[in-house]
Structure formats: structure tokens, C-alpha cells
């Protein structure tokens, strides 16, 4: 069961447990600062397949197998899966889970998808709709780049505000019992549009959504940023994270040293030439499933606010002169 808290949030009465997490990333991510936190690093961007879309589905399939093995569960033990990605019609998720036999709800939250799948899976478990639910999210540099921007062969120049779509997948199993970090609260996102029309500046487009959701979260629960050991957005990148800090500061709220962003964590800004950082829903998915949850299990952080952000655009909306509406969904995870 859930309890409405404040205007927009819910508290989970019986906080479900993240009993297992797994993540897979590509070669570039595997050379970054978080390399030790990933379960699998694939130097083959095709993951043994013939197309990048099939590669991304294969990455999902492998990550799902890995998280099931960690939890010592079989697909038949998972009663609901919530999954999403960036590819048109979310097909890499549906093909990735095609043979699993797991009851399936596809979601689309752009780069906020990991928070959305986690939120919905947690709601389903805490309400008795499932004993074990799965949240799966992925992105792939090569599927996203050619679909959202230009063919890779075109070699387009990237402006300093642009981010690098992560090749990565994260999968979580959320259960009614067991040991692990617990999902205690959810603040869903409201679509926010700051009027940004530059599709190469997603950080600026998404920061106002993160600001809106974090503000609602703190108000609803009567908390300040200091309640959390770690507040992590994903993926505002360096540009967007700076804007978010400024927006909060205007309200008199200091996010402080406990704030960071998945897009800032996953690549080395100096050495890896990614400009404003990582992006893609696989970024926050793999950082949450590895680095963050590992840190919670090891006692490094007790209270984490995971607020994934998504830019709800498409190449069509950009071509039609539209601005970039964005959303952020926040999930509080506590040990």
C-alpha cells in the first residue's frame, strides 16, 4: 500500500526491497571512473549481433540473466517486468524480454526511464500485485545517435553542451521481502518546459524538471537535501547539474556536496572527450545498478535520492520547431 504524502508524493508503507541489481556497459563506459562497479563490460559494441538494435536487446537479455542469477531466481519467479529504452517503439526492450515469459509493461520516460520502472515496480510490489518485480532500462550510443541525431558515419560536430549517450543497461529485482536497500518514497514527475529548443543542450532542458521534482519531494516529505547522504540526478551532465544547483540556490536551497549526477560520474571529463558528460537512460540505469546500490550495500550511503531526468523530445518535434519538454521522477532509497 501507499500513502499520499503532500501534494505529489507517495510513501510506501511496506517498503519493497531491491534484492539484486546487475549492469552491463560498453567499452567506453568500461574505461571510465566507475569501471569497477559494472558487472559486465563488453568491448564489442555489437554484443555479438549484426545490428546495434539487436546488440542492445542482447545487452538487455544478458543483464536480465545476470540479475536473475544474482537473486537466485528464474524468470518464472518474476511476476511483472517494467522496461523501457530510447529506441523507436521501445523495441529493444520488447525484443530483449521476448523469450523471458515475464508479464510485461513497457514504459517510456526517455532518460528518466530507470526511475520510472523502479517507481512502478516498487508500487506494484508494495501493493501486493507482485512478490517479485523487475525494472529494466537500457540505452546504446549507436542506436540512439543514429536515431536521434545523425548517421554515425556523418561525423557531426558536437557542441560543448552535448552529452554522450551511454551504452549500458541496468536491471533490478524488487521484492516484498529479503535483504537490501528499500524503496521508501516516490515523487513522480510533472512535464516541465523551459522553452529550450537546442536538442544538443539536454542538460539545460532537463534541469528545470529536476528542480521541480526535487522541490516537490523536499516539500512533500518535509525534508532538506541534508536528509540524504547522496542526491543523484541522471543525466543532467555538467551543464545541467550547474543549472540545477543555481535553480535550487534561488529558492535558498543548497544541494551541497552530497549532490551529483550520473552523467558526471560515468565518464572522465578530461580524458574521455564527452563534453558535458553521459546521457541516455542506460547511464542512470547502470550507475544506479552498480555504483550507487553497491555503495548502499557497503554502508557508504544510507539514504539516497535517485532522480532520473528525461527529455521528452523526438527528431520530429525538433524539426517541427518545438521546445523540449522534460520530466524527472524521484525515488528515495534507504538502508
Amino acid at each position: 500500500m501507499g500513502k499520499r504524502v503532500g501534494k505529489r508524493s507517495v510513501a510506501l508503507d511496506a517498503p519493497p526491497v531491491i534484492i539484486a541489481s546487475a549492469c552491463t556497459v560498453g567499452g567506453k563506459e568500461g574505461e571510465g571512473p566507475l569501471k569497477d562497479s559494472f558487472d559486465t563490460i563488453s568491448d564489442d559494441s555489437y554484443f555479438g549481433e549484426k545490428t546495434w538494435e539487436k546488440a542492445e536487446s542482447r545487452m538487455i537479455k544478458n543483464t536480465v540473466a545476470s540479475v536473475l542469477a544474482k537473486a537466485a531466481l528464474s524468470p518464472g519467479d518474476i511476476e511483472l517486468a517494467f522496461a523501457g529504452d530510447l529506441v523507436n517503439q521501445c523495441t529493444v526492450s520488447s525484443f530483449g524480454l521476448r523469450e523471458s515469459g515475464i508479464p510485461y509493461f513497457g514504459v517510456y520516460g526517455a532518460c528518466s526511464t530507470m526511475a520510472e520502472t523502479l517507481a512502478l515496480a516498487s508500487m506494484a510490489v508494495s501493493s501486493g500485485f507482485a512478490s517479485n518485480a523487475m525494472a529494466v532500462t537500457s540505452s546504446h550510443f549507436s542506436t540512439a545517435e543514429r536515431q536521434y541525431r545523425m548517421p554515425l558515419e556523418y561525423g557531426g560536430q558536437r557542441p560543448p553542451t552535448s552529452q554522450w549517450t551511454v551504452t549500458g543497461c541496468g536491471a533490478l529485482i524488487i521484492s516484498s521481502g529479503g535483504a537490501g536497500p528499500r524503496v521508501t518514497g516516490i515523487t513522480p514527475g510533472v512535464i516541465t518546459d523551459a522553452g529550450i529548443t537546442d536538442a544538443n543542450n539536454m542538460g539545460a532542458a532537463m534541469a528545470p524538471a529536476a528542480h521541480d521534482t526535487l522541490t516537490a519531494h523536499f516539500e512533500d516529505f518535509g525534508r532538506t537535501p541534508s536528509y540524504y547522504d547522496l542526491i543523484v540526478t541522471g543525466d543532467l551532465g555538467f551543464t545541467g547539474a550547474d543549472i540545477l544547483r543555481d535553480l535550487c540556490r534561488r529558492d535558498g536551497v543548497e544541494l551541497g556536496s552530497g549532490y551529483t549526477d550520473c552523467g558526471m560520474l560515468i565518464f572522465d571529463r578530461e580524458k574521455q572527450d564527452v563534453h558535458s558528460g553521459g546521457s541516455g537512460c542506460g547511464c542512470s540505469a547502470s550507475v544506479l545498478s552498480g555504483y550507487i546500490l553497491n555503495g548502499m550495500r557497503s554502508g557508504r550511503w544510507k539514504r539516497v535520492l535517485f532522480a532520473a531526468t528525461g527529455a521528452l523530445l523526438s527528431p520530429t518535434t525538433t524539426m517541427q520547431g518545438e521546445s523540449v519538454p522534460s520530466i524527472a521522477c524521484a525515488v528515495s532509497i534507504e538502508v
Copy 2:
């Protein structure tokens, strides 16, 4: 709260109420057999906008305004909205709800989206995560046709198994109290792939998914088709509905005269030249929000099983030689 029933289903302990529904369709749909059940029929396929994508967002916006007016609620009274469509990155939904201020979860279930949004909204309400939730789903012939198939100007020939994507939107408000039909059970879909590779024969691709979900539903709840006054899939069309009847018959299950399909209902097969019937998630959305729920309110049907089906393909998966995985989500609605 929900209670697991059988292997795959859930029963809703406090069945949430569909307190209001609204639907908008295009001109062709408004000339069909269900014309009197639609709230709004627009002869302008642009809905006053300059592009079809903006038209679809405008249709969503209008339908949301209409359902709110019927329920005498304001957007601020809706605590969660679940919405989805067929357009790449689900942008017509996010743009349609951009100014609403309603907390938003985007979903993607292809043509099963109306059942998915209704299922998730019902779960959220019955568990106390929201007092009022909204389920919104749309499709538009012209956005879908040019995105999934060919530019309209190309004038491609349509084979007899092809279906006509409905221009339509349905919106429901699901509440913890009030009067109206109630959502009593949900059987989520499992991805099913019968190996069909003809993207112009969606009925054949989706019928096995409908068969799988209906079979699970009847088993889980210990029911036969005769429990329901109306079993309605959406959108198998004439071809797919025949296949579904055959598949059930092989199991010794007769769907009987209480079975029909939204894609068969919405157009006049003889006069409207739609070949195998209607499709697109706006088809089942507008048929449910108008014809079916009106019929339940007037006492024509007491128990309805609404099983929307989706083909989880994209033009990319078709070009890469993949078959068409499908899914069906069933929701039982009772007065």
C-alpha cells in the same frame, strides 16, 4: 491493494471506479457504425494545427479537457496520469499533457496501450497511490501511416489483411470512490511471438498474444467466456479475431457471440474500405471510452473483459528481418 490470483493475474480488493470517460475521433471514424458513441468528431484531421503530430497532441488535450469536465474535476485533482501513443518517443502524449501539470508516467504498449494505462491507473488507485488517476491513449492515421509505413503521398497498396489506423483518443478517470463501472481484475500480457513477419498482417501476429492472455485470465480466475457479457479485443480486426476464435476452439473454449473486437466495430467493413478493420491504440481507446462504457452505464452489459493487443514492432525491426512480437493486456470491468 491487490491480490495475486492464479499464476499471472491480480484482483483489485477495492475495485476502483471509472467515474468518467471521453473520446474524440476523426471524420472517417465519425462516419462509422459507432458514430453516436463518440463525444467529439473532428472533420479536420489537423485539429486546427499545422502538422499531424501537433494535431494528435491537440486531440489528446481536447479529450483530457472533456473527461475532466465530465467528472467536474480540474487537472490539479488528478494525482497520476498514465498515457501513451504510437508516435516515436511517445511525444504526442507528452506534448498533449505538457501544460496539464499532472504527474505523468509515459507507457508504451503499442495498440495494447489503453489496457496498459487503465491497468496501471487502476492499480495505483486501488493501492492508495492516487485518489484520481487518468488513463489516456491515442493514435492518428496520418502520424502512424507515415511513421510505420510509407509517406501518405506514396499511395501504397494495402493487402486484404491490413488494418486502418484509427484517428482517435480515449481518456478515463479512475477514482477510489464515485459511481460507474469498476475495474475488478487485471491479467498483464506476456510477449508472444508466432513468427509472423508480415507487417501488414498485425491480426495474425497479435491473435496468439490475445489467446495467451485470455487463456491465462480464464484459468487464473476459474472463469469461462460465459462469465462475461462482452469480451472485446482491440485491435485484431477481422483476420485476427477469426484466428483467435480458432485458437481458443482448439483448447475447447468457445468465445461465443459475446466476443467481438474494437477493430471490427469501429468501421463499416462493406462501405468504408478498411480491409481487415481498424487498428491503432486510439481504436480500442475510443471504443472503450465511448461505446463500451456507455453500454455498461446503460445496463446493456454488466461484465466486460477488455483485452487490448499490441504488436511490438517498429519499421527498423521489420527492415532487420525480425518477426512481430505481440502482447495483450486484459482488464475486467464490472458494474
